[in-house]
């Protein structure tokens, strides 16, 4: 029985923990240096520099809070943050609700069925967000595939694009595979005999699922939801292509700010705020759920 991971070469079982930590050949702490240098120079340093520049403005010299003052005083920025948050929350909920049954099916299906289904699930991830969103554009556009189909059936045209619906639909379907994969990993490790035991003690199928399976799958659900939420917060391609004028997300504003180029400090401030919100969500999450539980979500046995 091969899993998708094994298909791409990642083995299934491993030696004991003590063995794993033995100093083996070909290892030296200095081998971490290239990675640390790469992330330090190309990731950490630019981020820190950007955060620093968010405290600068073109006119003034030295550090100012002007950018942040501007952001917090303008009602339109508050509105954009609010909309971004709204969209991200709704998308996360939709992904959780839609993804859970799918992950459940995948985790309990026989291996012959799982492999092709996994490929189908993986396929969209191989194409960029841009291509997939473009596909939704073609389907939902006023002259698009869906409306042509409806016209053929003499049904009225529907406007499912350039509005919140289009954005939510496209974002949910784009982010769905991420939550399904996370949940799948968690669910596969849940010992099904526990469910049998519960039923053996008289619980109905539903009660067994509700009291045994569901709690055990919560770390995966929580982790997947966090992932989707964080990704959704930063989206700008999908809302830009599918949204209307009331579907502005913070990523779009940052992109505009950078593209226009005359006040990088302001765009930097927005980006820093987004980064801060994301960090807070992650920290809050790990405190609430416990990072060890996520990392060990495979070790439910």
């Amino acid at each position: 029985m091969t899993t998708v991971l094994e298909e791409i070469g990642v083995p299934k079982t491993g030696p004991s923990g003590a063995q794993r930590r033995q100093r083996g050949a070909m290892t030296h702490p200095l081998m971490l240096l290239p990675a640390i240098l790469l992330l330090g120079l190309v990731f950490a340093y630019p981020l820190l520099d950007m955060i620093w520049r968010s405290f600068t403005t073109p006119g003034a010299s030295g550090a100012t809070l002007d950018n942040y003052q501007h952001i917090f005083s303008e009602a339109s920025y508050w509105k954009i943050f609010q909309i971004t948050f709204e969209i991200a929350v709704v998308v996360t909920l939709l992904c959780a609700v839609l993804g859970y049954p799918l992950a459940y099916l995948l985790s309990s299906a026989p291996p012959r069925v799982v492999a092709p289904l996994m490929v189908l699930l993986l396929a969209p991830l191989l194409t960029s967000v841009l291509v997939r969103t473009f596909g939704f554009l073609v389907i939902l556009a006023p002259q698009g595939a869906l409306n042509q189909l409806l016209a053929g059936l003499n049904l009225g045209p529907v406007t499912l694009i350039y509005n919140r619906f289009g954005v939510l639909l496209a974002m949910t379907l784009t982010l769905l595979p991420y939550i399904v994969f996370t949940l799948y990993g968690n669910m596969r490790a849940i010992d099904r005999s526990l469910l049998d035991a519960a039923q053996g003690m008289g619980a109905s199928r539903f009660t067994a699922w509700r009291t045994v399976f569901l709690p055990l799958s919560l770390p995966g659900l929580a982790g997947g939801s966090l992932l989707v939420f964080v990704l959704a917060l930063g989206y700008f391609i999908t809302p830009r292509l599918m949204g209307g004028q009331r579907d502005l997300m913070i990523g779009m504003v940052i992109e505009q700010g950078v593209a226009q180029g005359n006040n990088f400090g302001l765009a930097a401030a927005l980006a820093t705020l987004l980064l801060a919100v994301t960090t807070l969500c992650c920290l809050g999450f790990t405190r609430f759920v416990g990072i060890s539980r996520i990392l060990s979500s495979h070790g439910e046995r």
Binding site: E7, I8, G9, V10, P11, G14, P15, R23, G24, A25, M26, H28, M31, L32, P34, A35, I36, L39, V42, Y45, P46, L47, D49, M50, L102, Y104, L105, S108, L117, L120, A123, P124, L126, T127, S128, L130, V131, R132, F134, G135, F136, V138, Q143, G144, Q148, L173, L176, R192, R205, L231, L233, G234, I237, G251, V258, F264, A268, A271, L274, T278
Partner: protein, 275 residues
């Protein structure tokens, strides 16, 4: 597991609907790319290859493909080298802060890409390093690194290090032991990680968008420009080529791994013969 038939059927139907929704955009793009019409109409009035002629004929698209491939290769090489070395150190080493370093290497995956892209633009613009194909690749390597680290640490943790130690005890140098015993076993995972890192960088929009210049753009950036300013089936044709490219690479990976697993001598589990 005792299964309730109707619930199972319901789940399968549900899954079918969801998969349809997930894959419909890709299928539609494929169909529309063969349309002969000027605009994106569906169903296409007739089929033609004119849009493929456009993208393979026009220098802008040709240059964009080359730029994408070069930058994605740069990103992949950087991520693979740095990631493999780091994974070896993390899995096998015994020093403090290992788990912190591990988490640290994964941070780029959790930071919103638009933030990373904006930060990179800030530095690259100051250094006048935008519009450089290698610069784009360097920027994208940061996104590919977490993936490589995750795959390789998982693989190395599952690798039975006693095989390597046995080779050393039989007289091989550590390097030789690594090359002849460990490498063949972890190679499939490395190939997969490399291919996925490559595709990730190839398809990447945000960093490429911010770091591109007037004459150096990647395929996704050109798609973005086309989609936001004028939509033509050229975009569908390019998207189909990119998708086909990705599927071909994935198929190659699966086939190579199948071959490596059954073709090589048991993947390192063959008992080491006495000298």
């Amino acid at each position: 597991m005792t299964s309730n038939r109707s619930v199972q059927i319901l789940l399968y139907v549900y899954a079918a609907v969801v998969f349809f929704l997930l894959l419909a955009p890709l299928v539609i793009i494929f169909i529309v790319s063969f349309s002969s019409a000027e605009y994106l109409t569906f169903p296409p009035p007739s089929l033609s290859l004119r849009w493929y002629e456009v993208i393979f004929g026009r220098p802008q698209w040709q240059n964009a493909f080359i730029t994408s491939i070069v930058s994605a290769l740069t990103a992949t090489v950087l991520a693979l080298v740095a990631g493999t070395l780091a994974s070896l150190a993390l899995v096998r080493g015994k020093f403090r802060f290992r788990s912190t370093l591990y988490m640290g290497l994964l941070v780029p995956a959790i930071v919103p890409t638009v933030v990373t892209a904006a930060a990179l633009f800030g530095i690259f613009a100051k250094l006048r390093f935008t519009g450089n194909v290698f610069g784009i690749g360097i920027g994208q390597s940061v996104l590919s690194l977490p993936f490589v680290v995750i795959v390789l640490t998982a693989t190395l943790q599952s690798f039975d290090i006693r095989l390597e130690q046995a080779a050393i005890s039989l007289g091989a140098s550590p390097l030789r032991a690594f090359m002849t015993v460990t490498l063949p076993v972890i190679r499939p995972a490395m190939i997969s990680a490399a291919v996925f890192a490559f595709l990730n960088a190839f398809d990447e929009v945000l960093i490429a968008l911010f770091l591109s210049g007037p004459r150096t753009t990647t395929v996704p950036v050109m798609i973005w420009n086309s989609v936001t300013y004028d939509i033509q089936p050229t975009v569908a044709a390019v998207s189909t080529v990119v998708m086909a490219f990705a599927f071909v690479l994935l198929a190659v990976v699966l086939l190579v791994n199948r071959f490596l697993r059954h073709g090589s001598a048991g993947g390192g589990e063959k008992p080491i013969a006495p000298a």
